[in-house]
């Protein structure tokens, strides 16, 4: 028995009482959808978890109408202080039910319980707690006095951080005075439906939060609905592009949180132990299903061999397997479709001439799995250096000078995040200035906080979530700030003509 062989330590599922089927959550109640229901499975076992309703066009209409009614009659008239109190309630309810939510998330999404328990769910509570306090302080959000809410927000979220993305969307929208219709990803609807129960426990007025489930068509109908005033989407750049096109010519205010191909830059004076941990966290956190993942490692040439050797030995200690096991580092890939994509891009990486290394680990019989993989000898033109793999696959490139590192880091249509590892503060500041990315981590990676704005440059989308900037995404100025200019007190030096 090697030191890696631990006895299983699975988190109990007893805390979770899943219903055999879930309806749509509209106007404060669960109701059956009119579309064809679909099965939700655990990606780690492929076992059936529950059956979930699909919202069709009529259901989307009903959800948006409920949100509109709640906006007009209740939520937009309520004091900010009271809106805040509801959000504080939700934050506390999430904390109270955190173990149950973590188990559900790991079961449904495939992420290790230690991540859902220690990262996702605590951040969900923190997000509601943070934005609760904004609800009665909107005058200080940077849009002048009395900023106005937008109305009904249509929100579509991805499968990689299901409940956390829900919190990123719903908390600021409600704090700003909007009502919402949210559609979770098809493969990870479960925690959103548990959240609907929390909404009921918080006694939130009916219609303020509506959750509709279904596949892409449901999202398209929601985003394209005429009575929607704001659209917030997190997901792939191609879908973001389609949304940007579909809202063209409308009044809808849009926030898009799209793909990334982050450079994680390691200089030769980096604190190497921390850097290795940071690189691992940067790309293997959540199986690499992270839009801001540090998927391109840029290592200064002089330390390339050392870094790669140490990475390989570190990755060899990661434990892949049951997401509910508290020892697990790498969980399941969320779906077979995503697994196919990771495999296809990895094969292309090999075919294009990069050198592939995969950690040795036992792959469970059922479910969707991909062992941590590193590609060395990667060129900037390789597809694995340009396209988002969205899996546990790291591409390693080298550089000699800071200027080269910056040029390579910026050589992508994306601009979501980046990492810098160096012991030299002045270099960190100078390099951070030159990187065209919305979030930069210096000597750390993949940190998230409700107080910290998150969002991309270029084709990684627009708008920010988190912090003061995040609340501004759901507000508009009361009136155009005219009369900002002084009237000219004729200092005419000689009249014209």
């Amino acid at each position: 028995m090697s030191f890696l062989e631990y006895a299983p330590a699975p988190e109990s599922q007893a805390i979770l009482n899943l219903r055999s089927e879930y309806g749509l959550f509209i106007d404060g109640e669960f109701r059956e959808g009119h579309g064809t229901p679909f099965a939700s499975i655990s990606p780690a076992t492929e076992k059936h978890l529950t059956t979930i309703s699909t919202a069709d066009g009529a259901d989307v209409d009903a959800a948006v109408a409920a949100a509109r009614r709640a906006y007009d009659r209740t939520w937009s008239r309520m004091s900010g202080a009271d809106r805040g109190k509801y959000l504080f309630r939700i934050a506390r309810l999430v904390q109270e039910r955190s173990r149950e939510l973590a188990v559900a998330e790991s079961l449904d999404n495939g992420k290790p319980i230690k991540e859902s328990r220690d990262v996702d769910v605590p951040l969900v509570a923190a997000w509601f707690f943070y934005y609760a306090g904004w609800a009665d302080k909107l005058d200080h959000a940077g849009l002048g006095a009395n900023p106005a809410s937008l109305g009904v927000a249509a929100q579509v979220i991805p499968w990689n951080f299901p409940l956390l993305m829900l919190a990123w969307k719903i908390a600021p929208a409600l704090a700003a005075g909007n009502t919402v219709v949210l559609k979770p990803a098809e493969t990870t609807s479960l925690t959103a439906l548990l959240f609907a129960e929390i909404v009921q426990q918080a006694d939130l007025p009916p219609g303020v939060v509506n959750i509709i489930t279904g596949a892409g068509a449901t999202g398209v109908a929601l985003v394209g609905h005429d009575d929607v005033d704001a659209v917030a989407f997190t997901g792939s750049t191609p879908v973001g592009r389609a949304i940007a096109k579909s809202v063209a010519g409308t009044h809808k205010k849009v926030t898009l949180e799209l793909g990334g191909k982050a450079a994680n830059i390691v200089f030769d004076d980096a604190p190497i132990d921390q850097a290795i941990e940071g690189i691992v966290n940067g790309i293997f956190f959540n199986q690499g299903h992270v839009c801001c993942a540090g998927s391109r490692l840029l290592v200064q040439e002089s330390i390339h061999d050392e870094v790669v050797d140490r990475l390989k030995s570190r990755l060899s200690t990661l434990r892949l397997g049951d997401p509910l096991d508290k020892n697990t580092d790498i969980g399941a890939i969320n779906s077979s479709a995503q697994l196919d994509r990771i495999r296809a891009l990895s094969d292309i990486g090999e075919a294009e001439g990069a050198e592939r290394w995969t950690a040795e680990c036992t792959i469970p019989e059922n479910g969707f799995w991909f062992a941590p993989t590193i590609f060395t000898n990667v060129s900037t033109s390789h597809r694995i250096a340009q396209e988002e793999v969205f899996g546990p696959v790291l591409s390693v490139l080298t550089f000699r000078t800071p200027a080269e590192a910056i040029a390579k880091a910026n050589n992508t249509p994306f601009g979501l995040s980046a990492g810098i590892w160096s012991d030299k503060g002045s270099r960190i500041l100078a390099v951070a200035d030159k990187l065209r990315a919305g979030v930069i981590w210096a000597n750390t990676f993949n940190r998230f906080d409700p107080a910290s704005p998150f969002g991309g440059y270029k084709e990684s989308g627009y708008g920010r979530e988190g912090g003061r900037h995040g609340i501004a995404s759901y507000l508009k100025t009361a009136a155009p700030a005219a009369a900002l200019e002084p009237t000219r007190k004729s200092v005419t030096k000689g009249a014209a003509k």
Binding site: G142, A248, K493
Partner: protein
Amino acid sequence: MTRLAVPKTYKLYIGGAFPRSESGRTYEIVSAKGAFLANASKASRKDARDAVVAARGAFGGWSGATAYNRGQVLYRVAEILEGRRAQFVAEIVDAEGVSTAVATAQVDAAIDRWVWYAGWADKYAQVAGNANPVAGPYFNISVPEPTGVVAIIAPQDSSLLGLVSAVAPALVAGNTVVVVASERLPLSAISLSEVLATSDVPKGVVNVLTGSPAEIAPWLASHQDVNALDLVGAGALDWVDLQIAAADTLKRVLTPENGSDAAAPTLGRITAFVETKTVWHTKGLI
């Protein structure tokens, strides 16, 4: 005997130079009364692309300049404009057919607006950025940075004020600009280019195209190296199509505004074309 005047050849302004359109095309500009004023250059797709290349080339220097320096350069533009008030007033009287008083008011407003924006250069980041109190040992700060190359369709019913109202705010943060001037009233735009060329604005920071917005705008909207699109003056075009084309590269887009207060001076016009960068500095590694 009256002196025979020396009329000006109105050309494009690209990369700090005044080229004719590579297409060789011009179109006739007439006064409000229908009299011939000039043959303006009719910019082509190639001219628009050249302008984007020039704007991209100028971006590093302009965005990298200190905010104080950008503010001074922009203020210098207002100084030079002030010295040329008479020229702009005369041009506007001819082109728009308005009284000297009305034309003077437009020029004065344009100069004052330019001064107002110049003063924002070293302040807007203090208003649009902030430190973030995250729950961990990190110094975390959000700062606004320019988006990149901004393509602007200038307001079509104004010679100078509309143009200034759209161009100045984009420059404040350090963006570089390709602007398509009013099709009917383009002469002040070229005269403004002469001001820019002589007021320490680096070449390529502002590029001015004259001609048909309907013809040029689609190329700018779909250009891969344009980061943002200000459609303030595109109300008469098929601007929804332009917005759709811009979505291919997720450009930031401002939609058309109509009326006399189009592109009114606001901080929002500056922050429309900035990106918020948030940097986490670890405090713990000691």
